[in-house]
C-alpha cells in the first residue's frame, strides 16, 4: 500500500510539474530586447535538460521504491558500490553542468564584460524610496552636476541637480524611462538612499541600484510598447509600490518626446 501510494505521489508530482511547465509555453513574458534572446535560449535549454533530469530522478526513485519494496522472504543484495559508475556519473554531471554554464557566458559578457556599444543613448536611472527617476543628458549629451545638498523633494529636485551648472541646464528628469526602438541604450544605474533593483521582465534586465556605485547596463529594445519597471530588491516598506514604466517608442516619437520635455 505505502509503496504504491509513494509511486502515485511521485508520479503525480512529475506529471503535474511537467504539465504546468510545458503548457505555460511560452513560459516567459514576451521578449523585447536583443540580448534577451540569448537569456531565453539559455533558460529553455536549461529547462529541457533539468526537466529530463527531474523526471528521470523522480521516476527512478519511485521505480526503485516499488520494485524493491519489502516482501516476505525477500533478501537485500549486499552491494557496496561501484567506482566505475561513480566516476562515470560524476564526470558526466561535471561536463553537463559546467558546459551548460559556459554556454550562458556569452550574454553575460555582452552585458557586463565587453565594451558597451557606441554610440548609444545614455540615461541615468536613480532609485529612491520609492520611485525611479530617469535623467536624460539633453541636447549637449552631457549630464549636469548633482549635489546631495541641493536635493529638495518639495521643489521636485529629487536628484539634487545643480541649477547653476550650464551643462545641466538642458537635462530632462522623468518618472519613467522612454527609449527608442532598435537603438543601443546604456543605463547608468544608481541610488539615492538604499539598494534598489531596476528590473524589467520583458527586457530581461535586472540590476541592483547600489548607493555610491554606478553600474552601466546596455540594452537594445526590439519592440515598441509600454512595460512595467519593478523594484526587485527589498528597499523598505514601500518596496512593492516602487513601480515605473518603460516606454519603447519609435525614433520619431523619441525625438518628439525629448523636444516636448526639454526645459
Amino acid at each position: 500500500m505505502t509503496p504504491l501510494l509513494f509511486v502515485g505521489m511521485i508520479g503525480a508530482l512529475v506529471a503535474l510539474t511537467l504539465y504546468f511547465f510545458a503548457t505555460k509555453a511560452p513560459i516567459l513574458p514576451p521578449l523585447i530586447s536583443e540580448h534577451g534572446q540569448l537569456i531565453d535560449d539559455q533558460i529553455y535549454l536549461t529547462l529541457i535538460i533539468t526537466g529530463a533530469i527531474f523526471a528521470i530522478a523522480q521516476l527512478g526513485l519511485a521505480f526503485l521504491v516499488y520494485k524493491y519494496r519489502h516482501r516476505e522472504g525477500a533478501k537485500a543484495t549486499y552491494l557496496l558500490g561501484s567506482h566505475k559508475l561513480e566516476y562515470t556519473w560524476s564526470a558526466a554531471t561535471l561536463v553537463l553542468f559546467v558546459g551548460l554554464n559556459l554556454m550562458g557566458q556569452k550574454v553575460w559578457a555582452e552585458m557586463h564584460l565587453n565594451e558597451h556599444p557606441k554610440p548609444a543613448i545614455e540615461v541615468e536611472v536613480t532609485g529612491l524610496q520609492f520611485k525611479w527617476y530617469i535623467r536624460y543628458p539633453g541636447k549637449d549629451g552631457v549630464f549636469g552636476r548633482r549635489d546631495v545638498n541641493m536635493i529638495n523633494d518639495a521643489e521636485g529636485n529629487f536628484l539634487g541637480l545643480d541649477k547653476t551648472d550650464p551643462k545641466g541646464a538642458d537635462d530632462i528628469v522623468m518618472g519613467s524611462l522612454t527609449v527608442p526602438v532598435g537603438v543601443p541604450v546604456v543605463m547608468k544605474i544608481g541610488s539615492r538612499d538604499v539598494i534598489h533593483n531596476f528590473g524589467v521582465r520583458e527586457l530581461r534586465v535586472k540590476q541592483d541600484a547600489v548607493p555610491g556605485l554606478a553600474v552601466y547596463i546596455p540594452f537594445k529594445a526590439t519592440q515598441t510598447g509600454s512595460y512595467e519597471v519593478a523594484c526587485m530588491e527589498l528597499c523598505g516598506y514601500g518596496h512593492y509600490q516602487m513601480r515605473s514604466q518603460l516606454n519603447v517608442v519609435t525614433m520619431a516619437e523619441y525625438t518628439k518626446f525629448l523636444a516636448d520635455n526639454a526645459p
Binding site: 541610488s191 548607493p211 555610491g212 556605485l213 554606478a214 553600474v215 552601466y216
Partner: protein, 105 residues
C-alpha cells in the same frame, strides 16, 4: 570531563635560549618594520614587505611560543592550511574594491 579526552601531550624540554631568541627576533623584525615606515616606500611595496615580515613574526610566535613545532605534522597542516585557505578566500572581494574605486556614483 575533559579527562576522558586525549591521553598525553607530546612532551618537550623547555628551551629558554630558543624562546629568548625568538623574542629578540620578533623585536628586531618589529623595529625593521618601524624603520620601513620612516623611509618612504610605494604603498604596494610597503604592504607586501610588511605582510611578509608580519608573516615571519606570526610563524615565530606560532612555531615556538605556541609550541606548534612540537605538534604532529598532520595537525600543523590541518590547522594552518585550513585557516590560511579560508583567509585567502576572502581576497575574492578585492576586485570589488577596485570596481567601487572606478565607478563611484
Amino acid at each position: 570531563m575533559s579527562d576522558h579526552g586525549a591521553g598525553h601531550t607530546a612532551h618537550h624540554e623547555f628551551n629558554l635560549k630558543e624562546n629568548l631568541g625568538n623574542w629578540f627576533f620578533l623585536l628586531a623584525l618589529t623595529l625593521l618594520e618601524v624603520w620601513l615606515a620612516y623611509i618612504h616606500l610605494p604603498p604596494v611595496t610597503m604592504l607586501v614587505t610588511l605582510l611578509g615580515l608580519s608573516g615571519l613574526k606570526a610563524a615565530g610566535i606560532i612555531a615556538i611560543f605556541m609550541h606548534m613545532k612540537f605538534e604532529k605534522l598532520s595537525f600543523v597542516l590541518v590547522v594552518v592550511s585550513l585557516t590560511v585557505l579560508t583567509i585567502a578566500l576572502l581576497l575574492i572581494i578585492v576586485p570589488d574594491a577596485y570596481v567601487l574605486q572606478n565607478y563611484r556614483w
